[in-house]
C-alpha cells in the first residue's frame, strides 16, 4: 500500500505577510488584489479575519462591512513564490515524487521512506514552522484523494491520518462535495439522486453513478471507496512540460463566432491558470478545431513575448480562429494550448520590461486564477464567457477530474 501525503500551507498569502509583520497576527488582515480600488478582491485572510466572516474572493468593501478593522495588505507575489520554492525544497528531502497543486499545496509519495507517513507529516509541520514561520495541514493516506481530504479536515497546523482501517468512519460521513473534483454541478446531480455523503456514493451501485455522471461516475465511485490509484506526478527537471493545453467538446455543436469565442476564452483562462501554477510562460499559441464530422486541424502563431496571460492567449486563439475557420461546418470541439515554454522567474522579469500594465494584469489574472482554483472554475469568469453559456460546461469538465493533455 502506498503512503501519500497532501500538504497544504494554511492561509498561504496571509501567513507569509504575517511572517514579515508579526503584529498582523493579532489583527484581522487580508491580502487583497488592488487594495486602492474599492473593488479589489480578498485573496487570502488570516484566522481573525476569517472569524469575522471575511471571505476569499469578495470585494474589499464587502469585507469591511463585516470587519471594519480589517487591515488590507497588497500581495507580494515574488515572496509567495520564494516560500513556495522553499517548502518544496523541504519536501524534496523526503521524496522526489512531488506533485504541486498551486503554490501552496502538493502531494508527496513517501511510500519508500522508512520514517512512515505520519512521522514525516509531523516533521514537515515542525520544519515549516521553524524554518519558514508558516503552518501546514497535512493529510496522510493511501491515495491522493483521501490525502487531500485529510489535509482539509483539520486546520491549521495539523496532521490527519486516513487509513484503510478508518476511512469508513472518517471519510464516509462527509458531504460528497468534500471530495476532490466534485464541483457544484456534480453535487447537484448527485443530490437529485439523494446521494449526499461520500458514504452514499461509496455504497451505491456504480451503475447508478454512471447513469448520473457518465464515465466519471465510475471514477467517483472508486474515489469514495479509497480506490484512487492515480500516481503522484513528478514535476520538475525530470519531466519537462512541452506544452500546456486544454480542449472542450460542447454539449451542442457551436455555430457562431460568439459561441466559439466564449469557449476559446474559457479555455485560455484555464490554460493561463495552469501555466501560472507551474510557473511557466509560453511564446506559441496553438488552436485546435474539430468540426461535427470529426475533421480537425491545428494552427499556431508566435507571440512577440512569452505570456501566461489569459487575455493574450485568448486574443491570439480568437485571431487564429477568425483567420482559419470559415464556418463550413458546425464545430464539435475546440482546443487551446501554449508551447515554447520557459519558466517565469517571478514577476520581476516582467517588470524589467517596464510594462507596468502587463504586470498588473498578470497579478489580477493570478488573483482570479487562484479563486477559480479554490472555488471551481465557475466562481469567477469573464462576462464574455458567461454570455456564451458555457461556464457550467467547463466547470463540469473539471468536476469530472479530467486530466488535461500536456
Amino acid at each position: 500500500m502506498r503512503t501519500i501525503l497532501h500538504s497544504d500551507l494554511n492561509n498561504f498569502y496571509a501567513s507569509v505577510e504575517c511572517v514579515y509583520d508579526p503584529s498582523l497576527r493579532h489583527r484581522p488582515m487580508a491580502v487583497c488584489g488592488d487594495p486602492e480600488a474599492r473593488h479589489g478582491i480578498v485573496l487570502a485572510k488570516n484566522m481573525l479575519a476569517k472569524q469575522a466572516g471575511v471571505k476569499t474572493a469578495e470585494a474589499i468593501w464587502q469585507a469591511r462591512q463585516k470587519c471594519p478593522d480589517l487591515v488590507v495588505v497588497a500581495p507580494n507575489h515574488h515572496r509567495y513564490l520564494r516560500f513556495s520554492r522553499m517548502i518544496r525544497q523541504i519536501y524534496a528531502e523526503y521524496t522526489h515524487k512531488i506533485e504541486p497543486f498551486g503554490m501552496d499545496e502538493a502531494w508527496l509519495d513517501v511510500s519508500d521512506h522508512p520514517m512512515g507517513g505520519e512521522a514525516i507529516a509531523n516533521e514537515l509541520r515542525l520544519r515549516a514552522r521553524q524554518e519558514l514561520g508558516l503552518t501546514l495541514s497535512v493529510g496522510v493516506s493511501f491515495n491522493k484523494v483521501f490525502a487531500k481530504l485529510g489535509s482539509d479536515m483539520k486546520k491549521p497546523d495539523a496532521t490527519t491520518v486516513i487509513s484503510a482501517d478508518n476511512y469508513r468512519e472518517r471519510v464516509w460521513p462527509l458531504p460528497v462535495g468534500a471530495l476532490l473534483y466534485v464541483g457544484p454541478a456534480t453535487r447537484r446531480k448527485l443530490a437529485a439522486r439523494n446521494l449526499r455523503t461520500i458514504g452514499d456514493v461509496a455504497r451505491c451501485a456504480p451503475e447508478t453513478l454512471r447513469t448520473a455522471l457518465g464515465k466519471s461516475g465510475d471514477m467517483l465511485w472508486c474515489y469514495a471507496n479509497g480506490m484512487d490509484r492515480s500516481p503522484v506526478m513528478e514535476l520538475g527537471e525530470s519531466m519537462p512540460v512541452k506544452s500546456v493545453g486544454n480542449s472542450m467538446t460542447t454539449p451542442e455543436d457551436m455555430r457562431s463566432d460568439p459561441e466559439a469565442r466564449a469557449v476559446l476564452l474559457a479555455l485560455s483562462e484555464n490554460v493561463a491558470d495552469r501555466l501560472r501554477a507551474k510557473g511557466l510562460r509560453g511564446r506559441e499559441v496553438c488552436l485546435w478545431v474539430r468540426d461535427c464530422e470529426l475533421r480537425s486541424f491545428t494552427t499556431q502563431c508566435r507571440l512577440r513575448e512569452s505570456t501566461a496571460l489569459a487575455s493574450e492567449i485568448g486574443r491570439s486563439a480568437i485571431q487564429l480562429f477568425r483567420c482559419h475557420y470559415r464556418w463550413e461546418k458546425p464545430i464539435r470541439s475546440l482546443g487551446v494550448s501554449v508551447s515554447m515554454l520557459e519558466s517565469e522567474d517571478s514577476d520581476v522579469q516582467l517588470s524589467i520590461f517596464g510594462e507596468a500594465d502587463r504586470v498588473r494584469r498578470y497579478e489580477l489574472e493570478g488573483t482570479l486564477g487562484e479563486i477559480r482554483r479554490r472555488f471551481g472554475s465557475t466562481a469567477i469568469q469573464r462576462a464574455s464567457i458567461l454570455e456564451g453559456g458555457y461556464a457550467a460546461t467547463l466547470g463540469s469538465v473539471e468536476a469530472c477530474g479530467t486530466r488535461f493533455m500536456e
Binding site: 511572517v19 522553499m86 521553524q130 519558514l132 508558516l134
Partner: protein, 84 residues
C-alpha cells in the same frame, strides 16, 4: 516585541561558498566582531518577523541572531517604546 534592524555586515565567503559573518556594523557606527559562529540554519524570526538564513553568532559573549533575508541582513533589535 522586537523589530528587524537592518545592518551592514562584513562576511567571509570561502572556496566552497560557505558564508561566515565577520563584523556587524551598528547604525550608530559601532562595530561588533563576531567571535564565533554557533549555528547556521534556515529560520523565521519569531521575535522580529522575517525569514532567511539565520546565523547565530557569539558577539561579546552573547548569542546574536543575524539573518540574511534576500540579500539584506538584519538583527533582532528590541523595540524602543516609540517604535511600534
Amino acid at each position: 516585541m522586537a523589530h528587524r534592524a537592518y545592518v551592514r555586515v562584513l562576511v567571509d565567503v570561502d572556496e566552497i561558498g560557505q558564508v561566515q559573518p565577520v563584523k556587524i556594523y551598528w547604525e550608530d557606527g559601532r562595530c561588533f566582531e563576531v567571535d564565533r559562529l554557533l549555528d547556521v540554519r534556515r529560520a523565521a524570526s519569531t521575535r522580529a518577523g522575517g525569514q532567511g538564513m539565520r546565523y547565530t553568532c557569539r558577539v561579546r559573549g552573547r548569542a546574536v541572531n543575524l539573518f540574511e533575508d534576500e540579500g539584506r541582513w538584519f538583527v533582532e533589535a528590541r523595540d524602543v517604546p516609540a517604535r511600534r
